[in-house]
């Protein structure tokens, strides 16, 4: 195969060389034609040398094979492979046996207000809530097992879904159930607990990992409340107990704007994290995959790099490379009827502590970030902390948007509301309800943008103060190729979105809707010139798909 290519190239080159010289003789009088001829000659010479190098390269490789030093992936030739050239940037802490999956597409939104690695105790937070809308896939009115005024311990069951009564939703802290807030059509939005000063835990009897079978572990996890914190893909819902996951994926770094440094979060909890991984290993016949960060100069925390019983995959690139959905796509994509589980790092720690400490420890390290925060830091609190108490005396102004999560796919919250269960970050940005004179042409302040019509691309490390202004009105899809540039997956987002809008279920599935979750297209929504609500559109499509299956 290779030989035939070389031979054809050789013939072409010889022919070109011959023709070029005759051509030069016949048309030597015209200066412009001779440029063409010299150009062709140059190309021919280049091809000739290339073939020479290629030939000798092959000979060396053959010699090496005869001598018996041939090894898979070992390049013995003269010409470095593309992998070797690209791989020169591979950081030293990535072990020699492993490779880095480098994603070219994406965009890092650099904002002001990154949390400094200081851990504060949030002793002022006394109000916590479990929010049924956080658990996608359950009915809006779950069955409550407690009433207002009831006294609960951390780990006590608060409610369960009537369709799936085995999966229990438990209290993150001990105290009194002070209020059950309802929304439209009597849907339960928040079950609020006033926490004790000293948290009392319900003691749980964890099965022995070595001897327990999967069914026993499953029912234990469902009963303990950790099950509900895990997520199943496709659709990003609470896992279905009747299906074993094909694989379990955990991303150990978050690339979203101002995201917490998970190396800092995991510090001191290495044992719990490893225990959690051990449990997860029992839950699937496939692998537990750990996505590791190969972007920086420093190695990630040892808890991640030295984890055992898991498959480690290194990733490098820009946001959304830290999204677990993107990592799944590059490790082992979701196809056909596959289901996989995803967990965030702190859920793995809670899971590990269930076995290590014998209690449901819903402690969370939350990063308080954003340009509108006086002193962005990390705070130690519990799952579902009250926002107002968490942010007391921390804000610079009150004309702000409080976001549970990151600016791309978080949820806007008020002071009376609570952190969402999956979030380990609060971001505060200024509200942008101002008019801007000719703002579309001469913007009044610097703002993050992928567009090179802004000088941002000249200053790749500049950080911005973003606000919630839309910087323009919603329009029909006009610009193309924009989404593809920030979604490092083999997916055509714009065509997918259009297929969702016209409700073409077959096409949605064929175009890969099952591989996506809102956070994966969040960056597409950010860059969208036409200001289309892509996450909302995607969720509508996912819900349609879920009803179908």
């Amino acid at each position: 195969m290779k030989n035939t290519i070389v031979r054809t190239l050789l013939v072409v080159a010889l022919n070109l060389a011959m023709h070029a010289t005759t051509f030069a003789q016949s048309a030597g009088n015209s200066s412009s034609t001779s440029y063409l001829v010299y150009g062709l000659l140059g190309v021919a010479v280049l091809i000739f040398f290339f073939i020479l190098a290629q030939l000798s390269d092959n000979l060396i490789a053959i010699e090496a094979k005869r001598a018996g030093i041939s090894e898979d992936g070992l390049n013995l030739g003269l010409i470095p492979g593309a992998k070797e050239i690209a791989g020169s940037k591979m950081p030293s802490y990535v072990g020699s046996g492993s490779s880095v999956i480098t994603l070219k597409k994406g965009f890092d939104i650099l904002l002001e207000g990154e949390a400094t690695p200081v851990l504060e105790d949030a002793s002022g937070v006394t109000s916590f809530a479990v929010q049924p809308p956080n658990f996608r896939g359950i009915l809006p009115i779950p069955k409550l097992t407690v009433e207002e005024g009831a006294d609960v311990k951390a780990g006590d069951v608060l409610f369960f879904d009537k369709n799936q009564p085995d999966v229990k939703y438990v209290a993150p802290v001990s105290g009194e159930v002070v209020e059950i807030r309802r929304g439209d059509k009597r849907a339960i939005n928040e079950v609020i607990i006033l926490a004790d000063k000293e948290i009392r835990y319900k003691s749980v009897e964890a099965p022995d990992l070595a001897s327990a079978d999967r069914a026993a572990l499953k029912s234990f996890l469902m009963e303990s409340g950790v099950w509900a914190l895990m997520s199943q893909r496709p659709f990003d819902v609470v896992p279905d107990p009747s299906v074993d996951p094909r694989n379990i994926f955990i991303s150990t770094f978050d690339t979203a704007p101002l995201a917490p440094d998970l190396n800092f979060v995991v510090a001191g909890k290495e044992a719990a994290f490893q225990k959690g991984l051990d449990v997860l290993g029992k839950m699937t016949d496939g692998h537990v995959y750990l996505g590791l960060d190969a972007r920086g100069d420093k190695a990630p925390a040892a808890a991640f790099t030295e984890a055992t019983g898991v498959e480690k995959k290194w990733f490098s690139g820009k946001h959304p490379v830290g999204n677990v959905g993107v990592q799944i796509h590059h490790i082992f994509p979701i196809v056909n009827e596959d289901t996989v589980w995803t967990l965030n790092v702190q859920t793995v720690i809670t899971l590990g502590n269930l076995f290590l400490e014998g209690r449901f420890n819903a402690e969370r390290v939350v990063a308080i970030t954003g340009a509108e925060v006086e002193k962005p830091v990390y705070v130690k609190t519990y799952l579902g902390a009250n926002i107002g108490q968490l942010l007391k005396d921390r804000l610079k102004s009150d004309h702000v948007r409080i976001i549970s999560g990151d600016v791309l796919s978080g949820a806007a919250k008020s002071n009376e509301q609570y952190l969402n269960a999956a979030d380990d970050q609060v971001t505060i940005v200024a509200e942008g309800d101002y008019y801007e004179m000719f703002g579309w042409l001469i913007p009044g302040s610097p703002r993050p943008s992928v567009s090179r019509t802004y000088p941002n691309f000249i200053f790749p490390n500049a950080k911005f103060k973003a606000d919630t202004n839309t910087h323009g009105e919603r329009r029909a899809f006009v610009v193309t190729g924009q989404y593809e540039d920030v979604l490092p997956m083999d997916i055509y987002p714009q065509h997918l979105m259009k297929s969702i809008l016209v409700n073409d279920i077959e096409k949605m599935e064929a175009l890969g809707i099952k591989e996506l979750s809102e956070e994966d297209v969040a960056l597409c929504e950010f860059v969208c010139t036409s200001k289309q609500p892509l996450q909302k559109i995607l969720r509508e499509g996912l819900e349609i798909m879920r009803e179908q299956s």
Binding site: L111, Y435, Y492
Partner: protein, 428 residues
């Protein structure tokens, strides 16, 4: 100051219920002057990129400003060359500039009044805000019209392009054919004598032959001449006649008759490169168009893939023609083909329209290449049309969805194959 201005504007805002059309028009101007105070919704992203459609469109308009400047002056320059007066480039500067302006301004105004009027009307009828699509179409249309185009024909062409080409399909972002090109193709087929032949590329002459009289209007003779006289400058001469030896033919017409030698007997390479030749208003000057194209590529507004592949398509086709070499035009070397005609303008501003081009990156390569190839075939082989890009782009506009369909299908097939392979891997 800014707040006072906003308050004033808010005070004069027409009532949306009572006078919806006025409100639509008001809204268009208000959002032009001030980006609205909309904030992101509670779900979805909370911050948005500073890029919007207005900025995108205006960047394209800015990129063609040099073409406007040059086109205006060149109209005057060509006019006086035909009369044999002020033959140096900068001689009679004010006359040439004002002559160009007198030609261009009515064209520009008519295009925008008709086009924007229709846009405003449809926005009001459909109850949405006025969209920015016509900013670019309206800026492109004057540049691709012959200098002497009668304004009523222009008005009909613009109305046709906007109503049939765009609004019938649902407005900005929904059209299948490039709106600006549709306006031109309408003039081309409905009024063939206006946009073809040798007579139309130099304005202000009764006929394109020696001795023909010059045509000046009241603006030249009363308004401008009065002004120039008071300043002591040279004035328009209503007695001037077309000089001997003037043809008015474009390089392409000459090349069709007798190849490159015939072209260079009338125009020098420098004239063709810089665009000091008769032609449509804005498409003659290659360097200025290339500057515009570079602005679009650097800012990432237009697809470099389309531009590059279109160039490659044209080069490959001319190389094939050179090899064939049956007529003098076929023998014109590939690099000289780019001195003639409006290839660069079509490449930079027409083929790259994101709405009508292919929407996938792979599709863009195919789309651009085919425009380059087909456009060159029409230019060189078809005696009826002096230039091929307009037809080639419209043709590929129609086929762009088909190209995308196959690219997306390929993705679907790849995905299906991958599922199969992974399923087999799991089973084993």
């Amino acid at each position: 100051m800014k707040n006072a201005l906003i308050n004033f504007f808010k005070k004069i805002e027409p009532d949306k219920k009572k006078s919806p059309f006025m409100h639509t028009a008001y809204d268009a101007f208000f959002t032009f002057a001030f980006t609205p105070n909309h904030t992101t919704s509670a779900g979805g992203v909370h911050i948005k990129d500073g890029m919007d459609l207005k900025r995108t469109m205006v960047m394209v308009v800015l990129a063609m400003q040099l073409c406007y400047l040059f086109g205006t002056y060149n109209m005057g320059h060509q006019h006086f060359l035909a009369l044999g007066e002020y033959t140096g480039l900068f001689q009679g500067f004010h006359l040439k500039l004002f002559y160009g302006l007198v030609q261009l301004l009515p064209i520009f105004v008519v295009t925008h009044v008709v086009g924007l009027g229709i846009e405003f009307y449809y926005a009001y009828r459909k109850g949405h805000s006025v969209e920015e699509g016509f900013l670019v179409s309206g800026a492109l249309i004057p540049l691709i019209m012959p200098p002497d185009i009668p304004l009523w024909i222009l008005a009909i062409a613009v109305a046709f392009a906007v109503i049939i080409g765009k609004e019938a399909f649902g407005g900005t972002g929904m059209n299948i054919l490039n709106v600006a090109l549709l306006a031109r193709v309408f003039v081309f087929f409905a009024y063939p004598t206006v946009i073809s032949g040798d007579e139309v590329w130099v304005s202000g002459l009764a006929k394109a032959e020696a001795g023909a009289a010059v045509e000046y209007g009241w603006a030249h003779l009363s308004l401008l001449n009065g002004l120039f006289e008071s300043l002591g400058w040279a004035t328009f001469n209503p007695q001037a006649t077309v000089v001997d030896g003037f043809t008015g033919a474009t390089p392409l017409a000459l090349a069709y008759q007798g190849g490159w030698a015939n072209v260079t007997s009338v125009y020098t390479e420098g004239q063709m490169l810089w665009g000091l030749i008769p032609g449509s208003i804005g498409e003659t000057s290659k360097p200025f168009i290339i500057i515009g194209a570079l602005i679009l590529i650097v800012t990432g507004i237009a697809s470099w893939r389309i531009m590059l592949s279109m160039f490659l398509g044209a080069v490959v086709t001319t190389l094939l023609f050179n090899a064939w070499g049956a007529t003098p035009f076929l023998e014109v070397p590939w690099y000289y083909q780019f001195y003639m005609g409006s290839f660069f303008f079509a490449m930079a501003f027409m083929a790259t329209d994101p709405v009508t081009a292919s929407s996938t990156n792979a599709g863009k390569w195919i789309y651009g290449f085919l425009i380059g190839a087909i456009g060159m075939i029409i230019r060189v082989l078809n005696p009826a049309y002096p230039e091929g890009w307009m037809l080639a782009i419209l043709f590929l506009n129609v086929f762009a969805p088909l190209i995308d369909h196959y690219v997306v299908e390929a993705n679907i097939n790849r995905r299906a194959k991958r599922s199969k392979a992974l399923a087999a891997k799991q089973a084993s």
